[in-house]
Amino acid sequence: MLKEFCYLSPATREELLDMLAEKGSNGRLYAGGTDLLVDIRGGKAPPQYIIDIKKIEKYHILSWGELEGLSIGAAVTCSDVAGSAVVKAHYPLLAEAAEHLGSPQLRNRATIIGNLCTASPCADMAPMLLCLDASAEISSKEGGTRRIPLKELFTGVKKTSCAPHEVVERIIVPPGMADSVGGYEKLKRIKGHDLALASVAVAKKGDRIRVAIGSCAVTPVLLPDFPIDTPAAVIAAEAERSIMPIDDIRASRDYRLFMVKVYIERLMAALQHAQ
C-alpha cells in the first residue's frame, strides 16, 4: 500500500493554475505516474497533494504547424509521440528516441514532459529534444506564460527551473529542425528495458550538427553546434571535456566515457554513410 496522499484532478487549465498557486508547494504534478509513484513506493514521503493533469483536454494535443513546429502537450505520452504520423513525418529522430524509453507499458503512461521534469540525468527524451532546439512553455497563475530553451529547464540532478506553482504546459520543437537526420544511441545493461548508462543524440540540419549526451553529468549536456565537416574525433574530444560521468553500481566513469566516444563515432559514420 502506498502512503496516504490526496488526489486532485482539475478539469481545466485555470483550475490547475489556481490549485498550483494555492497548494503548489505541498503538491506534485502527476501525469504518467511512472516516476512519482515509484518514488513514493520506494519510501519517499509523498506530497500532500498529487495533482493529475490528464483531465485537461488541451494538454493531450500533439500538433504540427509550419510556423511554430511541433507542439507537445503535458499529457502526451511517449507512445503517442513514437506512433504519431506527424512526428514521424517531420521529426523521425524524436519518434525513434521515444521508442527507447522504458518498456511498452511505461511508454503508454510516461509523458514526454514528465520525463523531462523528473530531470533525471538519464532522461531518454532529453538528448534528442536538446539537439532539436526544443523549448519549454511554463505557466503560472501570477506569472503568466514564459518560454525557455529546454537546456535552461535542467538545473541539477532531478532539479528544474520550474517552480512548484508553475507547470510546463508544452514543449515546442521549432520547424527549423524538422527533417533533421541523425540518431540516438543508448547504452543499457540488457537488451530489454533499462535506464541509460550513457546516451548520445546527434541531429544534423543544414550546415550544422548538434550533439547531446545523457547520463554523463548532473544534467543532460548539449554540446556547442559543430560545422557539418567536423571530424568525429573533434566532437568526441569536445564531449569528453563537457561531461563528468560518475562511477556507480551500473557502470564506471571510464566505461561511460569510452562508450560516448564509440557512439559519437558510430552516429557520425552513419551520417557520412547516408550522404
Binding site: E4, T34, G42, S103
Partner: protein, 161 residues
C-alpha cells in the same frame, strides 16, 4: 471517492481511497488476484492489465485514474470454462512454468495482437520487453504467439507434439 469502470465487460462501482493503486484495487477490493504484484515499480510487468486498449503497469496507476476506464485482466480471457486461444497456445507450447508472469504476458500480447495480427519474432519480443519471466521461458512464449497467429511452420510444430 466512488469510481465507476468497466472490468472485463462488467461495470463496477466502488469507493476507493486516493492512494490506492489500480493493482491493489483489482486484487484486494475486487478479488481479481490473477493480476500479480512483482516489483511494484514498473520493472517486471507481472501486474500488466489493458487500460483503454493499452497495456499498462497497474502498480503505477491510481485506482482513481481508472474512473470511467475500460480495464481488461487475465480473468477476462477464459469463457464458459474454456481457455482463450492465446491461453491454449501457451499451454500447448509449455510457455508457463511457475506462472507468475503469465497474466501480465497474456495482457501485453493481447494488446499487441490488437494492433498487429501477425507480429514477427522481434515485434513479439519488443512487446514483452517489459514483462520479466525468471523461469526464462521466453522462447516458448514467442512460439505460442507465432502459433496462435498462424505463423509457426509445420516442421517446428512437429517437434512440440
Amino acid at each position: 471517492m466512488k469510481i465507476r469502470l468497466t472490468i472485463n465487460n462488467s461495470i463496477v462501482e466502488r469507493e476507493v481511497q486516493d492512494h490506492k493503486t489500480l493493482l491493489h484495487f483489482l486484487r484486494d477490493d475486487l478479488g481479481f488476484t490473477g493480476t500479480k504484484e512483482g516489483c511494484g515499480a514498473g520493472e517486471c510487468g507481472a501486474c500488466t492489465v489493458i487500460m483503454n486498449g493499452k497495456a499498462v503497469n497497474s502498480c503505477l496507476v491510481l485506482a482513481r485514474e481508472a474512473d470511467g476506464a475500460v480495464i481488461e485482466t487475465v480473468e477476462g480471457e477464459a469463457a464458459d470454462g474454456k481457455l482463450s486461444p492465446l491461453q491454449q497456445a501457451f499451454q500447448k507450447h509449455h510457455a508457463v512454468q511457475c506462472g507468475f508472469c503469465t497474466p501480465g504476458m497474456l495482457m501485453s500480447i493481447k494488446a499487441l495482437l490488437r494492433i498487429n495480427t501477425k507480429p514477427g519474432e522481434e515485434q513479439i519480443r519488443k512487446a514483452i520487453e517489459g514483462n520479466f519471466c525468471r523461469c526464462t521461458g521466453y522462447k516458448q512464449i514467442v512460439e505460442a504467439v507465432l502459433d496462435v497467429t498462424g505463423q509457426l511452420d509445420k516442421q517446428e510444430e512437429l517437434i512440440h507434439e
